[in-house]
Symmetry: C2
Subunit: 186 residues, 2 copies
DNA sequence: CGAGTGATTGACTTAGATCAATGACCGTGG
DNA sequence: CCACGGTCATTGATCTAAGTCAATCACTCG
């Protein structure tokens, strides 16, 4: 069940009856809570591939607004069907719970990373955790700007940090791939 | 099933067979991944009440180490029992999935907050989202130092920010309670 | 009554944000 | 086929908010 959204268009509003689980196909949707004073607080920014408002599955009404930031399309997995499936099919249940558990783990790791003040250590934290099987190489997911956003750094700060790490011989860069090369890695 | 840990003691190691889900009763336990070079990267710091390594339920072995930071005690919910329960009892399943979904939501919100650079706006983001039913008052969970850590600020920065918000008439403080008082809230 | 911790404020420093400019690359429309 | 607008990658200069160090006061606990 697909739905197209124009930029600025609302997918759902706080108080509305929950329809189900959304997945963003393209564009980005943000979840906002608007307080009495009209100030908006962002709860989540969901981009292509990401899933939206899982908790609404277990609630009768939404507790925030969802608004398309850009033109976007979303896929709806209807609540009734999902919940019925959870009742019926233990395999599905297991997969669903596993998916949520992995999200929790990933989010906790990313949050933990934000507790690291230094840009250098933040980058190294990411690299250490996302190193491939060889424990040494990381393929960057998207652009460096996206990487900077993931790390919570300005892109300039990231460029400089990477440059310094390269100069210090800690890493080597080849296109979108970073290789850890400190003496400690031998 | 309770287990006591001396400070520095290991609860489990990467590669070991997964026993189940742990909940921290007292003290704090940290999850670490240690890379080839011996550098440690923290994945999670779990304090009293928090739950540990949910994703391990769906994996045969642990992918990180768990070490007690302080003296700690943990409760083990054995994997086999939990998984069997998930197969058998749809009500339990639903509750479990709902718990995970709420964690995901909460973590996403906290991560989103860390994208806010300004200490002032970070505090206001927290207050807006955690305001009680009246939309105006927030009871702080623990000490201000803990609050500062939650926000990713030094405690000094938090004190100053709160002082400034108070001076600006944006908030009022009464012990552990903060009340939003901007003109916008009337 | 000290020892330990939280709350608070002052002084100083710095890492990273911000503003700005440049070159490379890419798709696209004439 | 090429010029143009857009975005990414990169580097320089500058500024400032927040981190760090330090000191004080209030409390609590054994």
């Amino acid at each position: 069940m697909e739905r197209k959204l124009a930029p600025g268009h609302t997918l759902f509003r706080a108080g509305a009856k929950t329809a189900g689980l959304y997945q963003v196909i393209s564009g980005t949707v943000r979840l906002l809570r608007t307080d009495r004073s009209g100030r908006e607080a962002v709860l989540q920014v969901a981009s292509a591939g990401e899933t939206l408002a899982e908790a609404s599955l277990f609630s009768a009404t939404y507790h925030c607004d969802a608004v398309a930031t850009t033109a976007a399309s979303v896929h709806l997995y209807p609540k009734a069907i999902l919940l019925a499936e959870l009742q019926r099919d233990p395999t599905f249940t297991r997969a669903f719970a596993a998916m949520l558990a992995h999200q929790v783990m990933s989010l906790r790791t990313r949050l933990e990373r934000r507790n690291i003040r230094s840009a250098r250590d933040r980058v190294l934290h990411f690299l250490a955790i996302n190193a491939g099987v060889d424990g040494r190489t990381v393929a960057l997911p998207g652009t460096l700007k996206e990487f900077a956003a993931e790390l919570g750094l300005s892109h300039e700060a990231l460029y400089r940090t990477l440059a310094r790490l390269t100069a210090d011989g800690e890493i080597e860069r080849t296109g979108g791939v970073i290789k850890l090369t400190g003496r400690r890695y031998d």
